[in-house]
């Protein structure tokens, strides 16, 4: 398993695996669609989520969006810096704007997700 590989969900979240845990955030495409993020409702450390279960909410000026967990697992860390600087989600969504770290329950679930290249193709196919 390449530790620096990003996997993407159809709902525009990404996960980057590092050992047993994965770092989760939203894609650059997602932050562009949202517009200026002003608030985020972060999950609690210790909370347990299923694949595609909503683990938080991102609020931009114009919209509210649920964010869905790309894997089942337990939250081990959250990026609480986003509370004071929600704009990080717009500025650097796939790195500094990470949202949570989750202990992956079942690594085989990653097969439900797309590689970065497949995600690009997926985005292109959605523009009609």
């Amino acid at each position: 398993m390449n530790p620096n590989e990003y996997f993407f969900a159809e709902s525009h979240e990404w996960i980057k695996i590092e050992g047993e845990t994965g770092t989760v955030g939203i894609s650059d495409f997602a932050q562009k669609q949202l517009g200026d993020v002003v608030y985020i409702e972060l999950p609690e450390v210790g909370a347990v989520y299923d694949f595609h279960q909503s683990f938080g909410v991102v609020e931009s000026v114009k919209a509210v969006s649920d964010i869905y967990s790309p894997v089942a697992g337990e939250v081990v860390e959250v990026n609480s810096g986003l509370n004071d600087s929600p704009e990080l989600l717009n500025e650097d969504p796939q790195n500094k704007g990470w949202i949570m770290k989750i202990k992956v329950k079942d690594e085989s679930e990653l097969q439900k997700l797309m590689s970065a290249l497949d995600y690009e193709k997926y985005l292109e196919s959605q523009e009609d």
């Binding site: 709902s11 525009h12 979240e13 939203i26 495409f29 997602a30 669609q33 949202l34 517009g35 200026d36 002003v38 608030y39 909410v57 991102v58 609020e59 931009s60 000026v61 114009k62 509210v64 969006s65 649920d66 964010i67 869905y68 509370n83 959605q126 009609d128």
Partner: protein, 374 residues
């Protein structure tokens, strides 16, 4: 997150400035049948540009209905609560089309363009409805009513630098134009109606033209505004700006279930001018006292209250948020709601249900934002 994919529909109407808006990077959405930009650079940047420098809006989706004829003054006096006789060419007033109950069919501007010649500028969402309403109340009045919306392109240049940006483009003396005043003039050889009006709470101008190439005017304004860092502005910032300035939105804050008095717009009801549609109901309500009133609130802390979120006081649901947003200039979440009159005092604590949790808020004075007069 789920992103609703925007399906390009050929049935959506486009303004004459559509290509121009798209080429500037406008993120196009559907707005009441119109293909309009919700944002360009970003709602917060656009909002702050209007508050600090200037922004240019395409507002051609608004409706224009002309009322002309020897009895147009009497007709409009009958249809609206404000005193139309105070208008002269060319001056506008903010008013409403009211029902018999004194509630809103729409809010609008009426321009007096000349003797027996009026132009009503109405909300995009209500253009057809308003036109039908006006027609259906014509009765024996000697008036001609026409829906001229398709012929007009309307732009709004708003912000403290609006005058500096527009003045070099026209022979009109803009510094002599009073608020709600207007004048026919020209920009780049095109005939335009320029009025000192707007929907942002800043100084600014609205520009109306029949030109078939209005992008020439639009581009000239953008060019003139470049040294001031002018931005093109979308519907997203239009909404945050108007809400900060506490300018009401039909459908959210006012509709056919709210009276003009409940909406805090009693100042535009001129009972002395004589009877009008709804005057009896409004007079009765004024004498008895209104039972509910619109109030503004701010959220203490994080979170945004949006339209339809329930409003509670001491555990009892009393109303819903009519409009709410994060205010980029004030850097807090604000909103409007109607409350029973006994709960409308400034300082009253309320709570708003957001996704099962309660945000604490309190009633604050309106308007949320008022520009400094210089």
């Amino acid at each position: 997150m789920i992103i609703k994919y925007f399906k390009r529909s050929s049935t959506m109407k486009k303004t004459h400035l559509f290509e121009c808006q798209q080429s500037l990077g406008g993120k196009m959405i559907e707005f009441f049948g119109w293909n309009m930009p919700v944002e360009f650079k970003g709602i917060i940047d656009e909002h702050m540009a209007v508050r600090k420098k200037a922004g240019l809006f395409d507002v051609s989706h608004m409706g224009e209905i002309s009322v002309k004829g020897p009895e147009s003054l009497q007709f409009l006096q009958y249809l609206t609560p404000n005193d139309v006789s105070r208008l002269f060419p060319i001056k506008a007033q903010y008013t409403a089309l009211t029902t018999e109950k004194g509630t809103f069919v729409d809010d609008l501007l009426i321009y007096c363009l000349g003797e027996n010649d009026y132009l009503l500028v109405v909300n995009a969402a209500n253009t057809e409805k308003d036109y039908e309403w006006i027609l259906s109340h014509k009765g024996e009045f000697k008036v001609w009513i026409e829906n001229e919306s398709d012929r007009y392109t309307q732009m709004a240049l708003q912000g403290p630098k609006a005058l500096d940006i527009l003045q070099p483009l026209t022979e009109l003396r803009l510094d002599e134009m009073k608020m709600f005043g207007a004048s026919w003039g020209s920009i780049a050889g095109e005939k335009v109606l320029i009025s000192r009006t707007g929907y942002t709470g800043e100084d600014g101008f609205e520009i109306y033209t029949h030109s078939l190439k209005p992008e020439r005017i639009y581009n000239l304004i953008m060019k003139s505004g470049k040294p001031y860092n002018i931005l093109p502005i979308g519907l997203g910032a239009r909404d945050t700006l108007r809400l900060e300035a506490t300018l009401l939105l039909y459908g959210n804050d006012i509709d056919d279930a709210t009276t003009v008095l409940e909406a805090g717009l009693g100042w535009l009801v001129k009972f002395k001018k004589g009877d009008f549609l709804g005057s009896k109901a409004l007079l009765k309500q004024k004498e008895k006292g209104i039972k509910k009133k619109i109030v503004g609130f701010e959220i203490s802390g994080r979170g945004i209250a949006r339209s339809h979120y329930p409003v509670f006081i001491r555990g009892e649901k009393l109303s819903e948020v009519t409009s709410g947003t994060y205010s980029p200039y004030l850097k807090k979440s604000i909103g409007l709601t109607y409350l029973p009159i006994e709960f409308t005092e400034v300082g009253t604590e309320i709570s708003i249900e957001v996704r099962g949790k309660f945000l604490q808020a309190k009633i604050i004075p309106l308007p949320f934002y008022k520009r400094e007069k210089n």
